[in-house]
């Protein structure tokens, strides 16, 4: 298990007064996100119990995978009987946005040690990246200590795991939550994540292609229709982005123009 080792490494990073201060600052800056993330941890706990992951399985999901929407998708697909390879593929695709975060942090925090990147990378989430990127934007010339990111990330990690635990207990002891449209909350959460991302025409194209194909191919075995819909949507979005970029480029000057 990576997390206890990681926590030890991060804690030792925070020992010097400067690092301790940076750790506390990261923790403080990320605190509002702990609260907004808590309902989702709670929902995940309920879902995990509902799909049959059990108390320990559900908690292990949050403590070892620690990946918000990817956890929901993996648990949801597991409950629908999807094959492991399909679940791993969807998890990888859903987490691919972390590559962008990793790329940004690797560039702007080049002073972080390699061992630190490997450890804090374990805790890289939308929230910890958002807080850290905001800090980097605000002070672009100050080298940000690794401890700042550690504070923001570890706080999120504990808040997420605590809320998952509460959700699991609720799921195990409460009434049949499916009667209350509990799954609607999960899909509404997905909608809350992707709707604000629909900011340009190519993204609408990607979403539209994925939507139509996912509904059309829904009966393909092993959720292969889902994978096809995702890949086709990405290709369609990328292609339309390229098309738009090409159209917005100024026309190349001809030889005659150059002579003039």
């Amino acid at each position: 298990m990576t997390s206890p080792v990681a926590q030890h490494g991060l804690a030792s990073q925070a020992k010097s007064p400067n690092h301790r201060r940076a750790f506390a600052l990261g923790l403080r800056d990320a605190a509002p996100l702990f609260l907004s993330g808590a309902p989702f941890g709670l929902l995940f706990g309920i879902l995990a119990y509902d799909v049959g992951l059990g108390l320990w399985g559900g908690q292990a999901f949050s403590s070892l995978i620690f990946a918000g929407s990817a956890q929901f998708a993996a648990a949801d697909l597991f409950g629908k009987g999807a094959g492991l390879l399909v679940i791993f593929g969807v998890t990888a695709l859903l987490n691919a946005r972390h590559l962008l975060y990793a790329l940004d942090l690797a560039t702007r925090c080049a002073h972080w040690p390699s061992w630190g990147r490997l450890i804090v990378g374990y805790f890289l989430t939308d929230e910890s990246y958002a807080v850290t990127a905001r800090r980097l934007d605000a002070r672009p010339h100050d080298p940000l200590p690794l401890a700042y990111f550690a504070g923001a990330s570890l706080g999120m990690y504990f808040a997420w795991n605590l809320s998952t635990a509460v959700g699991l207990v609720l799921g195990a002891s409460g009434p049949d939550l499916s009667r209350f449209g509990f799954s609607v909350a999960i899909y509404s959460a997905y909608i809350a994540i992707f709707v604000p991302l629909l900011v340009a025409a190519p993204r609408w194209v990607a979403a539209g292609v994925s939507l139509v194909l996912a509904v059309w191919l829904r009966d393909w075995p092993n959720q292969l229709g889902l994978v096809t819909a995702i890949l086709a949507g990405i290709v369609a979005g990328y292609a339309s982005q390229r098309l738009m970029d090409r159209r917005s480029e100024p026309p190349a000057a001809s030889a005659g123009d150059e002579a003039l």
């Binding site: 929902l43 679940i87 859903l94 690797a106 609607v184 809350a192 709707v195 604000p196 993204r203 996912a214």
Partner: protein
Amino acid sequence: MTAQTLALIIGCSFVTYAMRGPAMLIFSRLQVPLFVRQALPFVPICVLVAITAPALLAPERSLDLNPLNNAWMLAGLGAAVVAAWRKDLVSPVLAGLAVFWLHHAIVTMS
């Protein structure tokens, strides 16, 4: 915990971590191809839409676009409207649930 659950957790942990720590290390030494960087923003949208759409538009496996029957679709629409208006995560969830319960109450009464 069954062997399948254990395999699921270990596999998902590995896949997730590979996109984080090692990526942070590799990207400090390696140039990422432009087309990969341009394609990445589409990925979360396509994954979430592809998971959500069949669940809301075909909740009983067959396509159902009738708002009188399909409370799931209406709940999704409610959540989408609120998500476009407010950028937080909680309000669309509450809106989706409210529409779903309201539909359920109206259908039960009539």
